[in-house]
């Protein structure tokens, strides 16, 4: 007697209630059951794949702005704030550095701290460039009903002290992408939205391996 749209709407509401207080690696069993009932079609997923590229470009532009010492503080602060809005709560940045002995050291920072540091790097001038290409993998549904994917981007960073290059690197960044069902307060409805998740950054080695 209960129609499908009603079940879906109820499921969506319950999902949003359950979403509070859960982590990305744990959901309630009730939510797991409901998640099975809400699916994105293949066509929807293709649309989201295109939107993911736009989202990643948005992040790249914010990073370029907040890294630039030439931009006014207000604009850089705004870029930091807007960049953070793109991320899922609790997203982290993991930076790996290759040590001279061949081992790899990794540092994890909350995204907010990473972005704040990027804004206050000890260089007189910072130039950040991104390759105009990004690779986005197909989305896969997780047990929590969200859809997961990864985008790969390449960033070139140059830090100057006066006119001299003090530091330069090229890093490959793997950005976790999450499509989640969120409540649109204005329209009072649930809709799928793209978020960025954890980022793994590793320096691309110029030498042969």
């Amino acid at each position: 007697m209960i129609n499908k749209p009603f079940i879906l709407a109820s499921a969506a509401v319950l999902l949003s209630i359950c979403a509070q207080g859960q982590t990305k690696t744990a959901v309630t069993s009730k939510q797991a059951k409901l998640a099975d009932e809400i699916n994105l079609s293949a066509a929807d997923i293709e649309v989201f794949k295109d939107q993911t590229k736009q989202k990643v470009e948005e992040l790249q532009q914010y990073i370029v702005t907040l890294g630039s010492k030439d931009e006014p503080d207000e604009k850089r602060n705004m870029a930091e704030k807007e960049a953070l809005k793109l991320f899922y709560a609790g997203a982290q940045m993991e930076i790996s550095t290759s040590m001279p002995d061949g081992t790899v050291q990794k540092i994890n920072r909350p995204m907010s701290k990473y972005l704040a540091r990027l804004k206050s790097l000890p260089y007189t001038k910072v130039i950040i460039r991104f390759y105009d290409i990004a690779y986005v993998s197909n989305f896969t549904k997780g047990p929590d009903g969200k859809y997961y994917s990864t985008a790969t981007i390449i960033q070139e960073f140059t830090g100057y002290t006066k006119d001299d290059i003090a530091y330069k690197d090229v890093t490959k960044k793997e950005v976790e992408i999450i499509i989640d069902l969120v409540e649109d307060k204005f329209f009072q409805e649930k809709r799928w939205k793209i978020f960025l998740g954890d980022i793994k950054a590793s320096e691309t080695k110029p030498s042969n391996q």
Partner: protein
């Protein structure tokens, strides 16, 4: 006399223009922040950037740009060529100039590719035959150690996918040497004395495993969970991930990330063997 003011004005103007030029040039240089193409974008395109991309190229479902393969692409690039490109082309076993070059690995590669093409084998993205080995940095009682965690994917009836832990291996678990002296055992009549010998056996803490069944196999994952829970192991992060794939009937391939600025880079096949083992038996060999 009239020359001097002109000269002063001229030089002032020159200084101003120079300063302006310097300012403009510096400004435009600093504004060089647009997202733009890079000369070695070709490497990025050719590079197997993600493990998922490795599978797509192996299955010949995506071209170098991640787009579905069309007739134009397949006319230039066959699936067998694509699979050959997924091998580490710097593997010393495939370079004839290397001393002791046996050619056997090249033959094995050819046999593998022929078999895959002939049987149209595909790698299922969420196959249980794809085992990820996460080489994790940790500390055990304050000392640094490496723990190898093995995971594969579970798919629910609703199509949801998750990675699950299969087993754990580490040097720190190798403190259970097998008994070669056969002097440790619980005597045959112990049952009649309510196993009084058990106390003696369990005080022999360095050789507890010798009192277990000959078929006893320690569950290192349970041990890992326990040590994490009691705080004896402190997990830090994964240093490297490699994939062991037994999802292609008759074969085993190992895939790892080659981080180098070359066309043949990213997630590539680093080893290939004939395999007939199923998951549980295969895991024991890792």
């Amino acid at each position: 006399m009239t020359h001097k003011p002109f000269s002063r004005n001229f030089y002032s103007l020159l200084v101003c223009v120079s300063l302006l030029l310097i300012f403009v040039s510096t400004k435009s240089y600093s504004q060089n922040l647009i997202i733009g193409p890079k000369p070695d974008g070709q490497v990025f395109t050719a590079r197997v950037k993600q493990f998922g991309e490795f599978i797509a190229r192996f299955n010949f479902t995506a071209d170098f740009n991640g787009e579905p393969i069309d007739s134009l692409f397949s006319a230039k690039m066959t699936r067998s060529k694509m699979i050959f490109l997924l091998f580490d082309l710097k593997d010393k076993r495939t370079i004839s100039e290397n001393p002791g070059y046996p050619d056997s690995f090249n033959r094995l590669k050819s046999d593998f590719v022929v078999d895959v093409i002939r049987n149209k084998y595909l790698l299922k993205k969420n196959s249980t035959g794809i085992i990820a080995e996460a080489r994790a940095k940790a500390t055990f009682n304050g000392k640094p150690c490496l723990i190898r965690l093995f995971l594969n994917q579970e798919t629910s009836s609703g199509g949801a996918v998750k990675w699950v832990l299969l087993s754990a291996k580490s040097e720190i678990f190798n403190n259970l040497p097998p008994d070669t002296t056969m002097v440790r055992f619980i005597p045959p009549a112990s049952n009649e004395t309510d196993f009084m010998n058990l106390k003696r056996a369990l005080e022999d803490t360095g050789h507890l495993q010798d009192y277990a069944s000959s078929e006893y196999e320690p569950d290192y994952l349970a041990l890992f969970f326990y040590l994490i829970k009691t705080g004896q192991i402190r997990y830090e992060y994964v240093e490297e991930t490699v994939y062991h794939i037994i999802g292609i009937p008759g074969w085993y391939i190992k895939v790892r990330d080659f981080n180098r600025n070359e066309l043949n880079s990213g997630w590539l096949i680093t080893d290939l063997k004939v395999n007939s083992l199923q998951l549980n038996d295969f895991l024991k060999t890792l």
